[in-house]
Amino acid sequence: MTDYQEYRKLLDGFFEGSLSASEESKLMNRLVTDADLKSEFEFQKDIINTIKDTRKLELKNRLENINIKWYHTVSNGWKVAATATVITVSTLTAYYFIDQQEDFRNRIDLMQNEIVMDAFDAEKADIPQKPVAESPEEINNTPSTYRDPIVEAKKENKVDEEVEVTSDRTVDVIVPDVIEHFEDVDNIDLDNVTSGDINTMGPSREDLHSSVEIRSVIHKKYTFHYNFSAGTLTLYGNFEDVPYEILEINSASGKRFYLKYKDHFYNIINTAEITPLEPVTNESLINELKIVKENK
């Protein structure tokens, strides 16, 4: 093997990465003094680098041709966070409304008693007091000796005359659907509630667990919008930087949804159209939503 052939072989080995340290050192020393070999080295370097660049370009073209959708769904982390928020808020809200309804019920009972008390006030009648039930069982087992004054009054056709409610005493209370079977409610495990259980709880609580699919979309035109249909809530805009929450409120009039984003609440209504997100302006509603959020 001639001297040139030997170094030419070393050159090939260098670009294939198969040289030992001593062989590489030998080649490098020779390159300093041998101009022809140096020229061949530069030539081979350019060729191999261009082969590599050609392959890189091919891979880049491959990536360039991948259709990246103009939207990106929310990362799983956000989805989990949003879903967990919806479920938690729904569950706690359900508890909240159960308590509210019980309050309403108690308040109505109290009001009825109060009205009756007023009606009989002049006579200072000794009205039997309704025993306070400590448990649902006790409600159902209310002693039969107890007589509801209103029922009794009705029986005696005295209510219309004696219990004449004046206009200023008329209490306009929107009564939510009252749970028919109170004992069932106490035993319901809200975490494992089924649609069958929900139905027994009345129409005000259709579903304690959210089935809402949430996704966020980056869109050139719609930067702070949403649409909500078929159980899918799509948020248009950059919702990935700041955590957001969806509050699902089970009210007497049905489910209501609100978006909590940064320091504001936004109305979410059922609409297939892409709609701008409108902030909630009603102060009392904002306060209620804050309470619900803080209590979750």
Binding site: F15, F43, Q44, D46, I47, I48, N49, T50, I51, K52, D53, T54, R55, K56, E58, L59, K60, R62, L63, E64, I66, I68, H72, I218, E240
Partner: protein, 179 residues
Amino acid sequence: MKDSEVLAKITKGDESALDFLYKKYYRMMTKLVITNSGTEDEARDVYQDALIVFWEKARKGNLVLTSKISTFIYSICLNLWRKELERKSRLSSEEKDDIEFIDIEKKERIQIIRTCINELGETCKRILMYYYFDGLSMSDIAEKLGYANTDTAKTKKYKCKKRLDELVKAKYTESDFMD
């Protein structure tokens, strides 16, 4: 797809793993550039380059991941974008003219080589790319390109490289002559 599965695919030379990574981290990686004075095109360019660097490293088989793939790619993006910003900054200085002069000569030479690579034909091009860039072994190349055995692939690679050298030398001389 888990990180280990992605790496396993890359080791086999399966380019679909690259597609998967590209789609999965597109937003995360491009955002890095966009939020650091880059345009969307620059962001895409940097991300694509970073993925190719990752592919190259993973293909060589000496990549030891001590973090998630996304973290690794993110750091490559970060470095590439820093380099790009430095390059831009240099270009805005007085050295600009000299660099451009050197670039023109080099670009010309590279263009000749590129033309020759394309003249080789698809098979030769693939063999040389798989060998020099992807670092595929001769047996892998034989399998990928459907050759009977490793020796056939080896001979083919030798002939392709020789032909490319000759083509480039011929064209380069031609080009010198024309100048």
